[in-house]
Amino acid sequence: MDRARMGSRKVLIIGYGSPIRGDDAIGPLVADRLQADGVPAGVAVISRHILTAELVADLVEHDRVVFLDAAVEGTPGEVRCRSLAPDASAMSTMAHFLDPRELLAWCETLYGKVPETFLVTACGSAFDYSNYVLTPTAEAAVQPMLEWVRRLIDPNGCASRLSKPTDEAATHGETGSPTMII
């Protein structure tokens, strides 16, 4: 994506996860807080319980997409950011939940274009019942996730270093500022 286009790019933020499964709610919660804080023109924010097929029609309408999700692997509270590439092999055996990489593969196969895509995750520590309430560990990860998203929607941000769709990842260190480990 060239810089000129970045200036007028359309960005879609998708927070997803179950609102009643503890820290799994962090994706939708961060999306809600972004929405409440306000986002620049050209940036849309949505929350989803699960990722479903019709989202493909939204993805192909945007230049950059940022998925926000909880992670189960890693150190609780750790925030990671990585770029995503289409992967048809990430296909679910069921229809009620799709992997973001599968959705990108739908975009590629059906529409011949794929938005530049990032996945920002926070590792949760508890996934038992709670209604839109995070553990303190996950709550502490909200601000770093927000910082990542703000960098990803800033056309001049260093997130462009992650623009190639690889599994390169960045983590949030203990210093409080996002740190890429590429």
Partner: protein, 475 residues
């Protein structure tokens, strides 16, 4: 030597299930069972909660169609309040239900079943999936995405963008419709109807190719249960119960849904967490019946909208006489219902009273027992609550649409297995047909939980001692 074939998980359905085929000494099928392997326990853990929480609690039963549970639950709460819903509130509820049916049926047809229908039951399982469909017929795949998007957009326009909308409330809906929203929804419907009509026309060209499957995919005499309107028309939100037998004779008609216990009993079996509802007067298991799109179209006298009524007439031509018996034709019925839903939404949105501000009746609980019945995409959905003087839930019974079809699904896989499975020469295409007959019913097995990682399909033949004698793996 007796052997067992296990198909687990059953793919391209909503939720987690397993199929076992018991083979005899000569490799013939002796028994077939469909197992629901999840236990949820919603009825039990809702006890003690205030009844007004029930719509939000029970919506979590299903991550893909919470609207159906929200409606059935609120109708049960309406009954507890003993109120009549303002007419506009009822119309708005009808619209969100029809939008739900549109997007759910679209998922079933385009995403779950089209790989079999377009690519063939015996095609390479590696490419017999949605990507295979995209390559073979990209226009169809795009139509499926767009139709789902239209249904989902209407749900979000009415219910708000939150994951589990709370717009439908006991007594009606929380907010009236604005003209801006009405116009936005109306603008979507012509495109949706165009998609539905061309998909229906395309599917009609495929149906003759599947004569063999149609004659073996749950092609069995059962009764059919559904709601119908007082005029005998297609009805998804309210209405009265009608039960027809396999010959088309009406056994029960215009039964108020609150009397469902007179018609329906529930049995349990030790091989599944899904209950086995049956028609009480015929006993268990003879009281087998089917619900859902096939039953609804078999039971009605007319749809009540122009294009859907033409399609209904063509649906009845699938068989010389009587109710359409083959479960394969659930696919056909689903497409007719999508046409109906889009036509009816347009009619309701153009109703001059749809912007009326009176959309909710308010009251406290006025009885101890409430029953709410709607037609979910997959069939009749029943919520039945009892409360105490404080309005706390003391007892719950939920009869889910897929549960009504449990006996029929078990009978159907037996029929398909008898027709296609050769235990001495197990082929993937044979087992895919066993799965595919389940997909005809589009079962929803309480799918609120996520699936993590890959779920490969492994089919093993074991002898009586548990020794694996043959294996097929997928994924």
């Amino acid at each position: 030597m007796s052997r067992t074939v296990v198909i687990e998980p059953v793919t391209r359905i909503e939720g987690h299930a397993r199929i076992t085929l018991q083979l005899g000494d000569a490799g013939e099928v002796e028994d077939a069972k469909f197992h629901l392997t999840q236990f949820r326990g919603f009825e039990k853990f809702c006890e003690g909660r205030p009844y007004r929480e029930m719509p939000a609690l029970t919506a979590r039963t299903c991550g893909i169609c919470p609207v159906s549970h929200v409606l059935a639950s609120n109708k049960a709460c309406d009954h507890l309040l003993s109120v009549g819903i303002p007419p506009t509130g009822e119309k708005l509820r009808r619209i969100i239900n029809l939008a739900q049916i549109t997007q759910s049926h679209a998922l079933s047809f385009f995403h779950l079943s089209s790989p079999d229908l377009l690519l063939g039951w015996d095609s390479d399982p590696v490419s017999r999936n949605i990507f295979g469909v995209m390559r073979q017929n990209p226009a169809l795949a795009k139509d499926g995405i767009r139709l789902r998007q239209i249904g989902q957009t209407i749900i979000e326009t009415l219910g708000g963008k939150k994951i589990h909308p709370t717009w439908v409330v006991p007594g009606g809906v929380s907010e009236p419709l604005t003209q801006e929203k009405r116009d936005a929804m109306l603008a979507l419907l012509p495109e949706g109807l165009d998609i539905a009509k061309r998909t229906y026309a395309f599917f009609k060209t495929l149906v003759p190719k599947f004569k063999d499957e149609a004659s073996h995919f749950g092609n069995q005499p059962t009764m059919f249960l559904s709601l119908v309107s007082p005029k005998g028309h297609l009805e998804h939100y309210d209405g009265l119960l009608r039960l027809k037998d396999a010959q088309g004779r009406i056994l029960e008609d215009m039964v108020p849904p609150h009397e469902y216990e007179r018609l329906i009993g529930e049995a349990v079996e030790d091989f599944s967490y899904m209950k086995f509802p049956y028609y009480k007067p015929h006993g268990y298991p003879k009281g087998i019946y089917r619900v859902g799109p096939l039953a609804r179209l078999n039971n009605i006298d007319a749809c009540g909208t122009p294009y859907a009524d033409v399609a209904l007439a063509e649906f009845h031509m699938l068989q010389e006489s009587g109710p359409i018996a083959s479960s394969f034709h659930y696919h056909y019925a689903r497409l007719v219902e999508i046409i109906y839903a889009l036509e009816m939404m347009e009619r309701l949105l153009k109703d001059p009273t749809i912007l009326d501000a009176r959309v909710r009746a308010r009251a406290r609980s006025n009885r101890y027992e409430g029953i709410g019945v709607t037609e979910a995409p997959r069939g009749i959905l029943m919520h039945h609550y009892r409360i105490d003087d404080e309005g706390l839930i003391t007892w719950v019974n939920l009869i889910i649409a897929t549960g009504h079809n449990n006996l029929a699904m078990n009978q159907s896989i037996r029929q398909v297995a008898d027709a296609y499975v050769d235990g001495n020469n197990l082929q993937e295409g044979m087992l895919n047909r066993v799965e595919a007959v389940i997909r005809c019913f589009d079962p929803c097995l309480s799918c609120a939980s996520h699936a993590f990682g890959e779920m490969p399909l492994a089919i093993e033949l074991k002898d009586a001692t548990g020794r694996v004698v043959d294996t097929l793996r997928r994924g």
